[in-house]
Structures are given as C-alpha cells and as structure tokens.
C-alpha cells in the first residue's frame, strides 16, 4: 500500500531544546496529519494541514508546536522548546482528500530528558 516515511525513527534530546520531526507523505496526497501516542497507548490527534495552512488542531497542539511543508518538501512538526511531557511516539499521516483513508508512517520515538 501507499507508504509514508518518517525521519528520524528515534530522537533523544534535552529538555528545552528544539526538535524537528520530518514526514515524507504519500506523493499525491494533499492532507497531512500529526498524531501523538504515549507508551503504546491511545493515539491522539494533534493537527491537520492542507494547502499550506493548519485546518484544525487539538488542545494537545501547544503554542510550542508548529507545522509546515515548505515547497512540497517534508511535512514537519517542530517543537520549541521541548518539555518532558513531549516524550512520545509521533505519527505522521496523509490522505488524498477529506473523508478518505489516512495512511500512517512508522512513527518517530521522541525522548526528552
């Protein structure tokens, strides 16, 4: 099936530092998403993104978070500054349109020390 790639697979950083998580979505997809999963538990929606703009975000999408996709390159999630509670696995997803199947990347495990 369609593949979403995420780089890096693991990232360890010190609290207060900035981190950028990268997502390479399915090539013809137009909608992009970030989700957060803590300790293999429930997956929580963070944000979705279309046509260069955030369409919808949850309360988990703190002011320290930002997303962008400059010129069709990686879809990125930046956290600046990081906090201990940001430790989680972050999953990127993409879809061709609204109300259709979302495809997920393998996740980036972020550890904030």
């Amino acid at each position: 099936g369609p593949k979403v790639l995420q780089i890096p697979s693991h990232q360890i950083i010190d609290m207060g530092q900035m981190v950028t998580l990268n997502c390479d979505p399915v090539s013809n997809h137009l909608y992009f998403y970030w989700y957060k999963q803590i300790l293999g538990q429930q997956m929580e929606f963070l944000v979705n993104f279309y046509n260069g703009k955030v369409m919808e975000k949850s309360k988990l999408f703190k002011d320290q978070f930002s997303v962008e996709r400059p010129d069709g390159s990686y879809f990125t999630l930046k956290i600046q500054p990081t906090a201990l509670e940001d430790s989680a696995v972050y999953f990127c997803a993409s879809s061709l349109g609204l109300g259709v199947e979302q495809y997920f990347g393998p996740g980036t495990r972020l550890t904030v020390l």
Binding site: Y35, G40, Q41, E56, G99, E101, F104, P106
Partner: protein, 109 residues
C-alpha cells in the same frame, strides 16, 4: 467521556480460533478505520469503511453508523495476527481520526 469505546482491552486466542473486536461510538461517525499495530509500532491499515461490510482474507469488518458501532472479526487466527488493534473513526464535520484505546491480541500456539 470517550467518543470511541473499544472492547475488549485484551484478548488471548489459540491458533486456528477466532473472535470479534468491537467499537461503540457515542456520537455520529461518518467512517471508521481499523489498524493493526505490530511489534515495531507500525500501523497497518486493515479496513476503511463508510458503511456496510468488507472482507479481506481472514478478516471481516462491519460499520453500522445508525447503530453507532463497528466490529472486526478474525477467523483462523495465526501467530502473526498478534499485536494491538485500533479502531479509529471520523466525526461528522471534523477531519481527524478519534482512536479507541486498542485491543491487545495475543495468539497462542
């Protein structure tokens, strides 16, 4: 409360047997996806349903939006079916997936 209630939270099956997982929704959902999360943490798409029933090999899923539930049936379970299964649904008017808490499935020889 949770919009997506998934059950059971854990299930152990012997190879060759089968069972059903279920998600109940507390609000109207327009579609549901089912995923298997494997031991490496990757999410594998199993089904996407806006209504009705789909079947793929030993798996079958049903989504009934009027009665607010979806099921995933597994038959003739194999060892590689072990993992955590999630349902995730799209709320009407929102472009996001709301996930259940998952079912940890263990297949025993």
């Amino acid at each position: 409360g949770d919009q997506v209630e998934q059950s059971p939270s854990a299930l152990s099956l012997h190879e060759g047997t089968g069972s059903a997982l279920r998600c109940n929704f507390t609000t109207t959902m327009r579609a549901v996806q089912w995923f298997q999360q494997n031991s490496r943490g990757s999410l594998i798409n199993l089904f996407y349903l806006a209504s009705g029933t789909k079947e793929n090999g030993r798996l079958k899923s049903t989504f009934n939006s009027k009665e607010s539930y979806s099921t995933l049936h597994i038959r003739d379970a194999q060892l590689e079916d072990s993992g955590t299964y999630f349902c995730a649904a799209e709320t009407e008017g929102a472009d996001r997936l709301t996930f259940g808490k998952g079912t940890q499935l263990i297949i025993q020889p």
